[in-house]
């Protein structure tokens, strides 16, 4: 059992509150990804779990053991830093063995563990090299190896792939997913990358300004975002938002007079101001969806098989819609966008989801 439980965690640097009342459970063997805009406190949360950062209040347990006052080494965690943080004056073998030596692990055991990790990560031919003689991807693997050999209860990753180039990032991402399966490890992982978050996570935690906005399965966050922030943060390109007025009979009136008719949630009353959200990938140019909006095409970004049409509505709002194949139209043309009512998100004036 290596569940991580965080209750009412608060942390501030002087007068600046960086983490505000964080509650989070990382299930045994699960892969939790922390996402959020820069400066929202992801690294701080991770470092608090590691014990590198003292917290102001709150409770933290790892594997049922309270760890609030334990130093990092006794928390049975292993951290993989964004900068890798390999010891430059030691070869790969010693980088991995260093922590074990300090824990007075028997020599044979150290050797067995390091060799095992080297085998898993394909580092065997590199064991005698110094970090400066390794490529970025290899350094990354050594950093992961250093974490593996300690057999921690929890792995903590802080943006481990952000220093790698695109191709290597995809490779390593797959490697990490495999590793998670193989080791059945509990992992907390910070990233900026949507794709990493969606593909790796059992559970995504979206943070904003030191708070958890929503935590849930990737698809849950994608299809049922709790609020405007999560709706706008998850998905790429971002969800389209349009202000609308609720009218009698389930009519949604946009500011330019276009109207949509939908089965509105019961909490929606006539006269309310709401925000409508729909994802670019759920809209089609032309086509025969139940909802339709018209506007003028500003530009079409073509990525090959698909692309994104930026369409300006009469109200002045721009809506992005995915286009497949060759739409045979272009800038300045008028366009009709259709989409399915199932994919419409409605948020109230406070930005909370209405269901």
């Amino acid at each position: 059992m290596s569940e991580v439980k965080i209750e009412k965690l608060c942390k501030s640097y002087g007068p600046v509150e960086v983490l505000k009342d964080i509650n989070l459970t990382v299930g045994d063997g699960s892969f939790v990804v922390l996402v959020g805009p820069s400066g929202c406190g992801k690294s701080t949360l991770l470092r608090s779990i590691a014990g590198l950062e003292p917290v102001n209040s709150g409770n933290m347990t790892i594997g049922g053991r309270q760890v609030n006052d334990l130093p990092p080494a006794q928390r049975e965690i292993a951290m993989v830093f964004q900068s890798y943080a390999l010891y430059p004056h030691m070869d790969v073998y010693n980088n991995m063995a260093f922590g074990l030596k300090f824990a007075k692990t028997p020599k044979a055991e150290i050797e067995a563990r390091v060799n095992e990790a080297a085998r898993i990560l394909q580092l065997e031919p590199l064991l005698k090299r110094r970090p400066r003689e390794l490529s970025g991807g290899q350094r990354q693997r050594v950093a992961i190896g250093r974490a593996i050999v300690r057999k921690p209860q929890v792995f903590l990753f802080d943006e481990p792939l952000s220093n790698l180039d695109a191709a290597l990032r995809i490779n390593t991402r797959v490697e990490i997913a495999k590793l998670h399966k193989m080791l059945k490890a509990t992992i907390v992982y910070v990233t900026h990358d949507q794709v990493e978050a969606m593909t790796l996570a059992d559970k995504i935690v979206v943070m904003n300004k030191g708070r958890v906005e929503q935590a849930g399965k990737p698809l849950e966050l994608y299809y049922k975002p709790n609020n405007l922030f999560v709706a706008g943060f998850i998905g790429s390109p971002a969800m389209n938002f349009l202000p609308a007025q609720v009218k009698k009979g389930g009519i949604l009136a946009l500011s330019d007079g276009q109207e949509l008719k939908a089965a509105l949630p019961s909490s929606c009353k006539a006269g309310d101001t709401v925000t409508l959200g729909f994802r670019p990938e759920h809209m089609t140019l032309g086509g025969a969806g139940k909802f339709a909006l018209t506007g003028i095409i500003d530009i079409i970004e073509r990525l090959g098989e698909s692309g994104f049409a930026h369409v300006r509505l009469p109200s002045g709002h721009t809506v992005v819609a995915e286009v497949r194949g060759d739409p045979r139209t272009g800038s300045g043309q008028s366009a009709k966008l259709t989409f399915d009512a199932d994919y419409l998100h409605i948020f109230n004036a406070e930005g909370q989801r209405l269901d």
Partner: protein, 275 residues
């Protein structure tokens, strides 16, 4: 064309300067191998089979006290380097890594130490050393020299320690190292080039110093070599053979130390730690 002309000019100047700097040393070494008459007869000539003589070296090494003066100098210089580096690195680490109340004030205090020459305090230092009963001991010299060199070495080492990525120290903490182990196993190896630099500029003035040996350990067989050589310089007669030989041999230990330290002056030791 222009470029090579200026390169020649630069090299010309450098060669000239090198020759100028090396000339007296060469002269000392050359003449130390000559007989007394030849030293004065033709000071600029190389030793020839007829003028060659080892009499100076004979006299220097025949005098057992000179050998012990060498050992004194080596002990004092070595001890000073050791303590300056150890305490300097420790203080630098504490000042950069830990935020405590008097941090800034302490750093300022040390900065003042760089600017005020320690010789201004000679009188009180003598009083202190006498009080401590350390007069005519090597300990006195090591203590004073360490104090003299600490401020600047702390200043320089702090700069280097601040450049060690924070992640590395935290990786150490995650690996279960105590703060002392982090210092000895991670920080010290990484600032080796800086320590070599500090060692080199600590060593030479200490080795050559005449002031404090004269004040603090002038007798009792605790003289350093620079002071010890003075016995060959009499008021009426000076044993030039011995003086030149002693000076020549006095260069060797610093030269060896320099070679040892300069090999550590490899740049980019931290490369590869982080992206």
């Amino acid at each position: 064309m222009r470029k090579s002309a200026s390169a020649i000019a630069v090299h010309g100047i450098l060669i000239l300067y090198t020759a100028l700097a090396l000339f007296p040393i060469l002269l000392v070494i050359m003449n130390s191998f000559k007989a007394r008459k030849a030293i004065f007869g033709s000071p600029l000539a190389l030793p020839t089979p007829t003028t060659f003589s080892l009499i100076g070296y004979d006299r220097v090494f025949g005098d057992s006290s000179i050998v012990s003066y060498y050992l004194n100098s080596i002990t004092v210089t070595g001890g000073t380097i050791f303590f300056t580096l150890l305490f300097g690195a420790m203080a630098a680490w504490a000042l950069t890594e830990y935020k405590f109340r008097w941090n800034t004030l302490l750093a300022l205090f040390l900065a003042v130490g760089i600017m005020v020459p320690i010789r201004l305090g000679s009188v009180s230092i003598i009083q202190l050393i006498v009080e401590l009963n350390l007069i005519n001991t090597l300990t006195a010299l090591i203590l004073v020299y360490t104090a003299q060199n600490l401020p600047l070495s702390i200043f320089i080492l702090s700069e280097f320690i601040a450049q060690i990525p924070k992640d590395l120290r935290e990786a150490g903490r995650c690996d279960g190292l105590s703060e002392y182990s982090i210092f000895f196993y991670i920080v010290l190896p990484l600032i080796r080039p800086a320590m070599a630099t500090v060692a080199v500029f600590t060593m030479i003035p200490v080795w050559n110093d005449l002031w404090f040996p004269l004040l603090l350990a002038p007798t009792g067989g605790k003289q350093t070599i620079t002071l010890g050589i003075q016995q060959f310089l009499g008021q009426y007669i000076t044993d030039w053979n011995a003086v030149l030989s002693a000076l020549s041999t006095a260069i060797i230990p610093v030269l060896i130390l320099y070679v040892i330290f300069s090999r550590q002056l490899i740049r980019g030791l931290t490369s590869g730690a982080v992206k």
